[in-house]
Symmetry: C2
Subunit: 301 residues, 2 copies
């Protein structure tokens, strides 16, 4: 599980930061999270494969989080994509994007499937064999939603030396992987735990941007391995953060600490900061395992 940062600036772009977009990579699939303008150009720089993008998750309908969609979809079409592309977003997105696609992407070789979610509830919005994604209601000037990506628990690993020792037939292995004990022809019970190593603990990633300070998030993301939380402002702009419904770096740190997160990655930096180390220090004072996001960065979970 890896996160690739494509853009971590806020609405006003700078020469140092691009607009919000990132990629979660898991088992060969790519999940795009937000798609600000130029996301496709930033994606190209990662050398990841456009055709591996399976789903796009859009947090909210502010331009700096979704204006990159028409360009990305056009490019996927030029690259010959045929697989459907699912976009999980606020229900309004389809009505805004369909006329654009109808006019500019008349020869689209694949289907764009809108999967709207309610921005107000915390629920399962995506599921495949390896992953579940839950929505996280955020607090912002327009309905805004975070995403919790949770790897599904894997099955135990068979210990080959033990199954050889007990001469266990191959046809018994799936049941043992799934949790069964083994009973020898002589009637001896070999417990599951002696035949297997436990699966690696499932990994998790939470994306929370844009949002005001919101303690209600804490139980929903408890124990998350990596939390990306917006940190638009420094402590000196705490009032302005509240007015614009953004968070300070220290508030991001408080959410991470409250949730017992493994690590915190902060981003969505206001253009006013020439040097985000101020934000880093303010978050680290509350939650030491904090990192600054940056374009081109990859974080392994």
């Amino acid at each position: 599980m890896k996160v690739h940062i494509l853009g971590c600036g806020s609405a006003l772009p700078t020469t140092r930061h691009s607009l919000s977009a990132q990629v979660l990579e898991l088992s060969g699939k790519l999940f795009l999270i937000d798609c600000g303008e130029a996301a496709q150009l930033q994606f190209r720089r990662t050398r990841l494969n456009f055709n591996r993008i399976s789903d796009i998750f859009i947090s909210h309908l502010h331009g700096d989080h979704c204006f990159g969609l028409p360009g990305l979809i056009s490019t996927l079409s030029l690259l010959g994509r045929t697989a459907p592309l699912r976009i999980h977003a606020h229900p309004d997105l389809e009505r805004l994007l369909r006329p654009q696609l109808g006019y500019f992407c008349r020869e689209l070789g694949f289907e764009v499937v809108f999967q709207p979610f309610s921005p107000h509830s915390h629920e399962l919005i995506y599921e495949d064999r390896g992953l579940r994604v839950y929505s996280l209601p955020l607090i912002h000037r327009v309905p805004s939603t975070g995403f919790l990506f949770k790897e599904r628990p894997g099955s135990a690993h068979i210990v080959r030396e033990m199954t050889d020792f007990y001469k266990i037939p191959l046809r018994e292995l799936p049941a043992i992987k799934a949790g069964a004990d083994y009973v020898t022809p002589e009637g001896e019970v070999i417990p599951h735990e002696r035949l297997t190593r436990p699966a690696a603990p499932p990994r998790s990633y939470a994306y929370c941007s844009d949002t005001a300070y919101n303690e209600a998030l804490i139980p929903m993301i408890a124990g998350v391995d990596l939390l990306y939380h917006e940190a638009t402002f420094a402590r000196s702009e705490e009032d302005w953060a509240a007015t614009t419904q953004h968070s300070t770096a220290a508030q991001a740190g408080k959410i991470a600490a409250g949730a017992g997160a493994g690590r915190l990655l902060i981003g969505h930096f206001s253009a006013r900061y020439e040097d985000e180390n101020l934000l880093l220090r303010e978050a680290q004072a509350v939650f030491p395992q904090t990192m600054l996001a940056n374009e081109g960065m990859t974080v392994e979970i």
Copy 2:
């Protein structure tokens, strides 16, 4: 008169080229020509002032020439613009862009004025005290239009030494600048030419992208100082250029040579060329005063 290249790639973006966009700078005003995705990010790199953009000219409604508009307009709004922004484009653009602006730019502090033009006629579409802009019908898969920017002829410059010598009253100077002779109190006629230096010859710039090879352009841009002409393909792809209604570098050279242009700037490079020097050589073989466009480049006219 200067041209700043923001992007000179074709539809499929690469790590080397951004999407079509450039800025014509004249007498402190900035005219944006095409606005592909990320034009605002490229503009930011030029260190030009966003508030000096007075008009935007959109050649045609393919995404790689206009998907940057919503982001740019949002940014102008965040920067506090109040002056109206004129967009000269195919009539369909307004119907496509208005719903986006209505949703994403609810608090726009300035007016966006659409000035539609017919893509099929060659006519005056913009005029101010210093500049006239004419549309140039192009040949492409959708209606496409080039733009000829022609500086208006200036008035002559007064030669101070001569007006002092003849003790010419200040109130006579505007008439002399405009072309009048001066008659001394003694009745002597001092010809206009002795009192003035002629104005600098008016400069001109033509932008022709996207288009198939189109000889009808030649008389419309005869004598232009600088011609930007698309050169998507090399000679080996001439058939494919015709199919997709683009030009080869050699065809761009032929248009420049036919029009007696001062210089030719080629761009809109296909992503298939790792090194555009092939295109440069093919154009130069026909028209030696050819240059390759590149992001961040400024050409003085």
